[in-house]
Amino acid sequence: MKQFADLHLRVPPNDIVQSEKMVQKASELGYSLVAIPFPPNTTRNQIKQLQHICNQAKIDFVSRTNLSPRNSNELLHDLRHCRRNFEIIAVRCYTKDVARQAAKDRRVDLLQFSVTNLRQRFFDKQEAELASQALSSLEIELAPLLQLTSFSRIRLLSCLQRETAIAQRTKVPITLSSGATTEMLMRGPRDYAALATVFDLQLSSALKALSETPLVTVERNRAKLSPEYVAPGIRVTGMKTVD
């Protein structure tokens, strides 16, 4: 059976009751893994609390942070501080400078763009070529498609159609996530996949963007964060002590 992941479930970290409800709902809808975003300066205890909630709901928990740097230097600084503390790093690209730096940096997992200001969507051919050489993927949140109405939704759909075409042409992986802040914005993975077909993503690609792509990203990062990891292709398999 296919395993699905929601890499952006925006549960309120301070509201435990609401968090429990949303995690439970994700489990009911058929997700086996959820990534919950935390502020970069969050404490270990807060993360552990949500991890416990996910364990109770029998759902795999992934810690994530969203970086919103103002320039590329700030991005590099944030990455140095956060990379080893979170399993997923997403960068919200509000300037072209940040978008280019994020696309070529192998520590960035997901590239996010504004859904309200479409002039700040910098995912063009050049950006895609940089992203395809690194490991970052384009993240498309589906909750805004449910919230926006009339012309703003039409404009967003038009942008997404262009961006998915570029991503597929340049072989940049696409990750679909909910970005849901309430239970009412949560949908099942197959419903989200069907919704993704309205911006010309094939159903098979949409299902891949909800299952295989996010799971591979999480698995790769967990391997990198494990103490055995040394460098790509090099792992410590055993230790020998000499008397």
């Binding site: 449910l146 919230q147 239970e183 009412m184 099942g188 197959r190 419903d191 069907a194 919704l195 309205v198």
Partner: protein, 104 residues
């Protein structure tokens, strides 16, 4: 010879603060289809209400199998019914009512 068009049966579960009638849910789906795909697209979906399953609080509708993904997308994009926040989940999809009953 004209080939009979295949259909898909969908079991739906509507969640809202208010009590929802089957007509209200169907209207919300129809208007969502019209919003996303226009009247031409809506005409091709051939949506029809089949039955209500009160013991499971499910609603069964039928659509053309060629337009299944469009109907699912429209159902997913429904955020309100009768002006109140609501969500419709697809519980199961099948080619026959018998198989749908087994699935859900």
């Amino acid at each position: 010879m004209i080939k009979r068009e295949k259909r898909r049966y969908l079991a739906l579960k509507a969640v809202s603060e208010q009590a929802l009638g089957k007509e209200a849910v169907l209207d919300a789906i129809q208007s969502s289809v019209c919003r996303l795909f226009g009247e031409y697209g809506a005409s091709k979906t051939k949506i029809k209400l089949i039955k209500e399953v009160p013991e499971k609080s499910h609603l069964v509708i039928r659509c053309s199998h060629l337009m299944l993904q469009e109907v699912r997308a429209s159902i997913a994009s429904t955020v309100e019914i009768n002006g109140k926040p609501a969500v419709i989940h697809v519980v199961g999809v099948s080619g026959t009512l018998k198989a749908l009953a087994k699935k859900t």
